[in-house]
Structure formats: C-alpha cells, structure tokens
Symmetry: C2
Subunit: 334 residues, 2 copies
Amino acid sequence: MLRIPYSELLETLQRILLKVGLDRPRAALCGQLFAETSRDGVYSHGLNRFPLFISMIRSGFVDVHAQAERVSTSGALERWDGKSGPGNLNAYQCMDQVIALSRLHGLGCVALANTNHWMRGGTYGWQAAEAGVIGICWTNTSPNLPPWGTSEPRLGNNPLVIAVPRKQGHVVLDMAMSQFSYGALASYRMSGELLPVEGGFNSEGMLTRFPAAIESSKRPLPIGYWKGSGLALLLDLVAATLSRGCATYQIDAAAERESRLSQVFIAIDPSFAGQEYFPAEVADQVIANLQLPFQSADEHVRYPGERVLRTREENMRQGVPVDPTIWRQVQEMV
Amino acid sequence: MLRIPYSELLETLQRILLKVGLDRPRAALCGQLFAETSRDGVYSHGLNRFPLFISMIRSGFVDVHAQAERVSTSGALERWDGKSGPGNLNAYQCMDQVIALSRLHGLGCVALANTNHWMRGGTYGWQAAEAGVIGICWTNTSPNLPPWGTSEPRLGNNPLVIAVPRKQGHVVLDMAMSQFSYGALASYRMSGELLPVEGGFNSEGMLTRFPAAIESSKRPLPIGYWKGSGLALLLDLVAATLSRGCATYQIDAAAERESRLSQVFIAIDPSFAGQEYFPAEVADQVIANLQLPFQSADEHVRYPGERVLRTREENMRQGVPVDPTIWRQVQEMV
C-alpha cells in the first residue's frame, strides 16, 4: 500500500482545485475537506472520489463560482440555495451558519436546496463538535434504496450525522440508511471479502453477503428492514419540505452525480441559558459504561468516531494510504 | 375479541385518573392520550399499559400533582424538569411548547429531564403534525439493548419519532432502535407467531425468531446491528446532555418502571419566513412515487402512519378492541 504525507495530499488537491477555477480560499478549504476525509480513513469519499468531483466540475454539474445564498430567515431557521456549488463547501458553510445561530438562539437550523454531494457527512459532525455544540445533519441522495418490500430503488440511503462534543474525543455518528453504503460495498468487493451480515438482495431476490451482487441488483437492505425504509423516507420529506428543494424522486439517478440534493443542518448549544457547560462528564460516563466483554476477545465496544481518531493519528504519522492508480490519475491533473 | 365504544374507554380511564388524584383537566387529557393510543391500534401502550401506570402512581414513581417546569431558556431552546409527573402529560406539554417556539423562532427545542415513560411516542408526532409543523422527538429508556457485539443490556432502545404534516394523512414514524420493541415481542408471543425476521439472540447467543427467547435473554437486535446500536447511543447522549437529566446507564432497569427518563422535543415550522406554505404537495408526490409492485400481491408500500388512520377509523366505527382480562381489571379500578 502506498502512503503519502498528508501535506503532499493536501497541496496536490488544492493546486488542482485552483486550476479548475475555485478562488484561493475556497480551493484551500475544499482541498482540506477532501484531504482530511482520506486522513480520517474514509477513503471512498476523500481522494477516491476526487476525480469524479473534478469531472462534475468539468461537465458543469458543479459550479465552482457558485456560493450558497440565504433565501429566507425566521430567526433560528433559515433556508439556503446551494446554487449547484461544491457540495462540501456548501455544507461546511451551512454548518458554520447553524453553529452561529445556536450561539444566538440556543439552536439553529438551515435547510439547503440545490447542492451537490457533501462527500463525507461526518465532516460536518466533527465541525460542530469542534465548536463545542451538538450537530445533527442529513442529506437526501439519488434513488438508491428500494422501499421495504419492493425491488426498485425509489428511496435514498440518506446519510444521517449526529455529533456530541467530548474532550476525550467527540462522538460522531455518520450512517446511511442502507446496511452498507455503496462505498462500503465497493471496499468489500475490492478486498474480496464477504459482508459480515446480509447486506441486500441479489437479482433473484435472495438475501446475500456478496457485495457485487448487491451493487448489480441495486437492492441494498435498509437497516432494520421496514424501519430504515421509513426513516429514509422521513429524512427525505423533512429535507425537501424545509429546503423546498428536490426530494429523492426528483433527483437524477444517472451515474453517481448526485446533484440538486436537499440537506438539513441543526446545531444545538449545550451551554445555553448562560451557564458554562461542557457535556464531557455525562458522555464519558455513558461510554465508560458500555465497556463489556465483547464477542471477539481482541475487540471492544467502540463508540462512533473512536476509530477515526486512531486512524487519523496513524495516517498523520505514517502517511495517508492512497490507491496508486487514483493517486497517479490525480497527480496528472495538477 | 371484545370491542368497546371509544367514549366508554375514554370515560372509564378519565374517571380512574380523577380518583387517583389528577385534577380535572389533567385527568381529561391523560385519559384521552391513553384512549387515543388504543383507538389508533397501539394497544400495548394504551389500555394494556394503564394498570402499570396506575400502580406507578400508587407506588409513588409517578407524582400526579407534579407539573413540568421550565428550568432555563435561551430563546428557541429550553430545559424543563418533569418532576416525575405523568409521562404523557409532560411530553404533551413539551411538544406544545416547542410548537409555540417554532411559531416564534422557526424552530424550537425542549429538553426534558426527570420524566416518566411517555407511553406511545407517536402521540407527540401526531400532535405536531396536527399543528402543521414538523415534529422530531425521542426518549431514552432503561437499559434494555446490548451494545452491538455484547450480551448485556446497557443501551436503551430509545424510540425516535419524526412527523411531517400532510392534508391526506400525516406521515408519522415512531420507531425503537431495537428491531422489535418489547411490546411487539409480547404481541407476537401472545399470538403464537414467529417474528418475521430475526429479532435478537437467545440465551445461547444464537439469532432467533422466537419472541419469548428474546424476552428472556434481553438481547434484542439493534436495527442495522452496529448502526442502531450507535444511533441509540447518540440519542441517549443528546437527551442526557441537553436535559442534564439521566442517561440510560443511570436509569433503574428494575421492572418496567422507566422513571427519571430524559427526552428531547423539536418542532420546525415549514411556513417560516412569513410565507404561507403547507408541505402537502411534496409529501404527496414522494409517497405516490413509492408505489411499486410489492413482494406480496395483496399489499402495498405503506408510509409510516398510514395504517394508524385505517385502524382509527375502524375502531371508532366498530369499537376499540380490548383484552377482556385487562378491561375487567381496569373497570374494577373505577
């Protein structure tokens, strides 16, 4: 496996983003968000997705000059138009805005329409937690998940992020409503592994642990069967209703483009009502209380976000693992 | 099956609540919330749970005279103390409050500590939707769900409710983080049915569809395995952090008492920014688009909340089904 220094990854991505037309501060932030995603071990939405992002810029699906704009406001609730700008910059800006709203009002919500794929959803959870607030956000997606009981993808797998700040390591959940995201299916397939549990139906409608069979049938399993199907529906409804943007059924399922998405960002300031408060203690005790004998002796109960910190530290020290083919492809874009 | 008129059920419950000490308006509302829950087909949390509720009043776990009080406020975010009052009255009051906050600020959030079991969570989703706003709420519970990979219940199954208003029938999701709630396990057991999918582990650690085996092992399966386990953890952390009340690990697992719970209520007004708006259209189209050939020919894709309306109509017309033993037991309390 090839590892490259984080700084080299970061500078390479930033130079390419400048070249395709982002202005300097936006190229810097956009490249940083991509590089941090690989640094944190979410390779599918970091470097590995960068070439698709560049091709979406070149084909006009992503407008590098577009900046999200506030359309309306009602105190703690705002509606924004992403104007088809870069999805990670739009999402970062909206989370920044709800953090500011939460300082003023206790909590804030921004509903964002017309945006592009936000890449790693967890990014905005970490962003909120770093600011000391609780962050909740989700996105809809193109149709990629059949409603429970059917075989045609009409729902999105609509990733949901919830983050709680903690001095010893933020707790950041980032999960799609399918048992395995398409990125996870691809990773299992490429490493030749079976899924640890059934992850969807094959084209014959049988449950399977073969990742490629699910990629080809486009029938991943919603978490909890009917429950994840229902939750995916509600996340889509709330996002489309509040943003007045597209619901999943209006989003082009073609390719992996994922444009015209709708997203919701919420931040809640736990130190509200003028009292100094950092929720470290309760979170520490809750997590300490989860430590139990684990099914395999060399593992333990991990809280969401725990593994990220370990991977981040390792990748900063040893270099960020990259797929040599993709890295070469990206280097040629500079 | 015995069916009784809704009005008879309602009046019986209200009379008993007066007798155990609730004042007139609170007895009226509390009885109504119980009766509506049975009317809507959620028998486990309506009449069937009423005797336990009365016994919790008699044993002092529920204080009929306690009224929830606001502890602090920060504009759109408030912290309330439930003072061990009746859980459904506390929850109803907090949802009412966030609906009011959402009219003022676009959205509102109340975190409630020291409350009791809220009975049917969906109640507060319907309440928000009836008011024309989006409702999101959840509760923690006593430890009843093992963290993924372990065998001891340390998480709660922490039901989550999301509701979107719609003229043709509100969309109301009400789901626990376990594949089957304990109420659902009991229903399957009493009807002698196997679960439709594996719902947990038996005492030997094997996945099973036998409801009684899971009731006895106390090892229900989280939805989506590690995903539902993570989501349950985050819901608990946010509720305990914001309310400064108990986290699941601090809640007495004994019996089914479920006191000292922490809950979060959020309402978002989709007509914010002074524009008339009812999200009927987008919700209608999203739901219409889900209609697909279903796995069994006599069924169709149901949206969350759809079955409730049918059951409600049937039960108002034909009477509310009651368990004869429980109904007799309740009648004797009058």
